[in-house]
C-alpha cells in the first residue's frame, strides 16, 4: 500500500521576474515498509519536498496523498490531526523542547491528540525502551548527548501508530557511528511497516534506503534500481 504519493507537485516562491521554482512536477510514491532517500545538493528542493509531503507547506500545483487521502481536500484541523497521528518528523537539529524531559517530549504528541496522560506516558516509555533509552527518560535534552537526543527525536516520530516518517538530514550533526545508529532505527521502524523518507546529501546515509531518488534544480532526475543481492558483491570480490 502506498503511504505517500506525490503527483506532479510543483512549488514556486515569488512572482514574475523574481519567481523561483523550488520543485517542478515531482512524482514520488513511498510504500508501507519502504525507506526512500532523496538525495541532492543544497538548494535542490529536497527540504521543500519534505515539508510539502508533511503538509507543513502547500504545493503551488499538484497533489499529495497520505494513506490515499488528498491533502488539498483536508481542512487545517484535519491536517493538524494527520501530523499528530500519522506523520512523524525528524529534523537535523532534533527540535526537542528543552523544558520537557525525554519521556515528556515523546509523549507530548499523543497527549496533544487527546490520549490520556498515563497511556501516553506508557507508550513513550515503550518507544524509548526500544531505542535503548529507557533509563534516560527523566533526563532533559541538555543532559543527553547528540546521538541520544536524535534517538529521542526518532522515538517521538514513531510513537503511537505513526505510518509515515519524514526525516531531514537526520544524522547531520552526528559522527558516522551515531549516524549509522540513527539509520538502523529508521530501518527498524520500516520493518514494522512504517514508510520513511529521508532527505540527505550524504551518500552513506542514503545507502540505507531501498530506493534513492536524485533531485536536481527541483526536479527528479534519476533513481537507483532496487539493490541486487548483496552476496553478489562478495562473489565479485573473489575475482579481484
Amino acid at each position: 500500500m502506498s503511504v505517500l504519493v506525490l503527483e506532479k507537485v510543483s512549488k514556486s516562491y515569488g512572482e514574475g521576474a523574481t519567481q523561483v521554482s523550488a520543485l517542478r512536477e515531482v512524482d514520488l510514491t513511498v510504500d508501507a515498509g519502504h525507506l526512500v532517500a532523496i538525495m541532492g545538493p543544497s538548494g535542490s528542493g529536497k527540504s521543500t519536498l519534505l515539508t510539502i509531503a508533511g503538509s507543513l507547506e502547500e504545493p503551488s500545483s499538484g497533489e499529495v496523498l497520505v494513506l490515499g487521502r488528498p491533502l488539498s481536500k483536508m481542512s487545517r484541523a484535519e491536517k493538524a490531526q494527520l501530523r499528530r497521528r500519522t506523520i512523524g518528523f525528524v529534523f537535523q537539529d532534533f527540535n526537542l523542547l528543552p523544558g520537557l524531559t525525554a519521556a515528556e517530549n515523546v509523549s507530548l504528541p499523543l497527549e496533544l491528540d487527546g490520549i490520556p496522560a498515563r497511556r501516553a506516558r506508557e507508550a513513550a516509555a515503550a518507544a524509548l525502551d526500544e531505542l535503548g533509552l529507557g533509563p534516560r527518560g527523566a533526563h532533559f535534552p541538555d543532559q543527553l548527548s547528540g546521538g541520544e537526543r536524535q534517538r529521542v527525536a526518532i522515538a517521538r516520530a514513531v510513537v503511537g501508530s505513526r505510518q509515515l516518517l519524514l526525516a531531514d538530514e537526520p544524522s547531520g550533526a552526528l559522527d558516522s557511528v551515531n549516524g549509522e545508529a540513527v539509520m538502523r532505527l529508521i530501518r527498524k521502524a520500516c520493518h514494522r511497516g512504517v514508510a520513511a523518507v529521508v532527505v540527505t546529501h550524504d551518500a552513506q546515509l542514503a545507502s540505507w534506503a531501498d530506493r534513492v531518488v536524485f533531485i536536481r534544480d527541483g526536479q527528479v532526475v534519476d533513481h537507483t534500481a532496487s539493490p541486487p543481492d548483496p552476496d553478489q558483491l562478495l562473489a565479485q570480490s573473489e575475482h579481484r
Binding site: 550524504d202 551518500a203 552513506q204 542514503a206 536524485f214 537507483t224 539493490p227 562478495l234 573473489e238
Partner: protein, 217 residues
C-alpha cells in the same frame, strides 16, 4: 592490500599450515577479501625465498606443510605496520579521466555522465550497507572492512557532487561559455558566441602535475 604481510601477521601468532592460513586470512578480513589457495602458496614460497618464513621440510608441498616466521620476518612485519602506504601520488582514476574527456566532447552533457556514475556508486554502496545491516553476519572485522569500502565509495560520490557543483556554478556564471576547453550542455548553449579557448591566457605552468592526474590537454 598486502597478502604477504597479512600471512606474516598470522604466522607471528605461531606456526601454521597453508590451508589454515588461508582460512584465518579470510576470517580476519571479514571474508570481504577471499583468497585462492594458489595465491597463498606462491606468497609463502616467496616469503621463504626471502628468509622471512621457514617451512617444515619433512612434509611435501600441500595443505599439510607447516610454516613459521623467522626473526627477519618479525622485523619486516613491524616495519610494514608502521610504514604509511604511499598516498602522495594520485592514481590515474578512470572516473576522473572519463569526466575530463566528457568535458572535451561538445555533444556530451557532462552532468548527465556524472549522474550516471553517481547512481552506480550509490547502488554499490546500498549493497555494502545491506551486508552491514544484516546483524547475523555482524562481526568487528567484517564491519571494519565494509566501512572501508563504504568510505572509499563515499569519497567517489563526494567528488562527483563537487564536480557537479563546479560545473553548475560555471554554467550559472557564463551560461554559454566554454568550460575547461570542452562544453557543458546548458540552457543557453549555442545562443551566445562561444569564447575562444584560452584566448590571450598564458599557458598554465602546471603541465607535470596535470599530466600526473591524467588531465588531457
Amino acid at each position: 592490500m598486502s597478502v604477504r604481510h597479512a600471512l606474516l601477521a598470522l604466522l607471528s601468532e605461531g606456526p601454521k599450515y597453508g590451508l589454515q592460513l588461508r582460512q584465518e586470512f579470510e576470517e580476519g578480513t571479514g571474508e570481504v577479501w577471499p583468497l585462492n589457495v594458489g595465491q597463498v602458496y606462491t606468497t609463502l614460497q616467496r616469503l621463504e625465498r626471502d628468509g622471512l618464513v621457514v617451512s617444515d621440510n619433512s612434509v611435501e608441498e600441500g595443505p599439510q606443510k607447516g610454516f613459521r616466521i623467522t626473526e627477519a620476518g618479525r622485523l619486516e612485519l613491524d616495519r610494514w605496520l608502521r610504514t604509511p602506504p604511499d598516498l602522495s601520488l594520485p592514481p590515474r582514476d578512470e572516473l576522473v579521466i572519463k569526466v575530463l574527456v566528457g568535458l572535451k566532447l561538445p555533444a556530451v552533457d557532462v552532468r548527465e555522465v556524472i549522474q550516471a556514475h553517481r547512481r552506480y556508486v550509490v547502488e554499490v554502496m546500498q549493497q555494502w550497507t545491506r551486508l552491514k545491516e544484516d546483524e547475523a553476519r555482524f562481526d568487528l572485522n567484517f564491519a571494519l572492512a565494509v566501512d572501508a569500502e563504504l568510505f572509499r565509495l563515499d569519497a567517489v560520490a563526494r567528488w562527483l557532487d563537487a564536480a557537479d557543483g563546479r560545473l553548475q556554478r560555471q554554467l550559472a556564471e557564463a551560461p554559454a561559455a566554454d568550460v575547461a576547453g570542452g562544453r557543458v550542455a546548458g540552457p543557453a548553449q549555442g545562443e551566445a558566441e562561444p569564447l575562444p579557448a584560452e584566448s590571450g591566457q598564458p599557458p598554465l605552468p602546471l603541465p607535470k602535475a596535470r599530466r600526473r592526474i591524467g588531465v588531457l590537454r
